[in-house]
Amino acid sequence: MPFRSKREISIDDERENAFRESGAFSDGRSDAHAPDLSLRTADFPRLRFSSSRAARFLTAFFDRCIVGCDAGEYRLESVLGQGRYGTSFSGIRRADGMEVVIKKIDRAESTSVREAVWTECAALSLLDHRGIARWLGIVNGRVTTCGSRVCVRALLPRHAAFYGIVQSRCPGKSLHLLLCEGHVFSMDEIASIGASLIETVAHCVSRGVLHGDIRPANVLVDEQGRVSLVDFGLARFFDRSLAESAVFTCAADDVDGIVETLLFLLYSDRARIRADRSGRPWFEELAISERQRSFLHDAFFRKESFDSFEEFGSRFAAAFSFRS
């Protein structure tokens, strides 16, 4: 990947800030103001207006119009964010008020998209863990208005079509959002989150499922410290009857994802960054114990030193001094 100059990064910053201020995207927080379509490209003459970004902007705008409408037996309450295949909504099941997440799928008639839908649903069907959402159903129909609310989109046949995956709602905020808000993770919190995350991934691996996309945005933590792993859209599968050492090798990407997430949490506290080694690689820059450094180093570069996920979890607990 080519190194990007500070100028290129600053242009991206301006572009992102412009889209953020327009209200097109939601990062989980409530966003009451309507999106501003008057994007002033003249203010950023050096920017190239990306057609893909414009498409996502318009998609998010139209998807916001159906908040408050009904999709099947569910009511759409708010927009959670935009994903790979469409917009995610929080909703409730009208029959019993159960909180759900509905992932609206765009271009659902496409074969490749349907295969991706089945991949995610199959992964959720294989798993049974308190930290992983349950697959509750499929919605394929039209958006309808409720009560006296008028929704233009619901009246248009083409735009009223709605195809979505319904999942149970996992509690908490994403680590990505917490980091953006400036939350500083203590070593105890990192130990707790890391242990829960490793245990959750170990369950996935025991059922022959690889998450494939572990990162702070896909890890939720609630106020009680319960950890949830979301977004199995890039899941892959393997034979669960393999030897434990082979299983750990298969899950190398997930192990990397866990360790990278831990590094993000470690970097949240500026006090852990050695000022005299600023700009160096993480294993030189971070002020952590030798045991923690050794564990992280082995997890990245010497995965053969772990026989199983159980050993991986126990070495993590020993390195980060977590006592259950």
Binding site: E16, H176, R236, Y267, S268
Partner: protein
């Protein structure tokens, strides 16, 4: 669901205060740390997912045990229904992958699922796994 927050803060090294953590070419994994230093640029995300897809394809060719779909993964024993790979939805007649609890077309609840013990696809209404005999959860 991956929530693509478009905050500009993380671009400025807000995640750790160290701009080098987000720079490619530095850190561990020969530069892969830099690849995950920021998630906000759409082009970077596209490149990341393209690389992931390429890696998945390469991994499949190199490691045949890792598969894209659960039906393709070898199991200890495969029932006749699971080996067929799909069943017909009783409501709309659409083809439904074996093991799916809901029809992917109409959303009708079919009640399949996978065995917690061996991972084999369970026929709708089955109380025990036909492959290993584990009671249905």
């Amino acid at each position: 669901m991956g929530l693509f927050s478009m905050s500009g803060k993380k671009k400025k090294g807000y995640y750790g205060g160290s701009s080098s953590y987000g720079k490619p070419g530095l850190g561990g994994l020969g530069g892969m740390m830099g690849m995950f230093g920021s998630f906000s640029s759409s082009s970077r995300k596209r490149q990341m997912y393209q690389q992931q897809m390429a890696q998945q394809q390469a991994a499949i060719h190199q490691n045949p045990v890792v598969q894209q779909t659960p039906q393709a993964a070898p199991a200890a024993a495969v029932s006749a229904q699971a080996s067929s790979g799909s069943i017909a939805c009783p409501a709309c007649g659409a083809s439904v992958p074996a093991g799916s609890k809901f029809c992917l077309e109409c959303g009708n609840k079919i009640g399949g699922g996978f065995c917690a013990g061996c991972g084999a696809a369970l026929p709708p209404g089955a109380k025990f796994c036909p492959a290993c005999g584990t009671p249905r959860a």
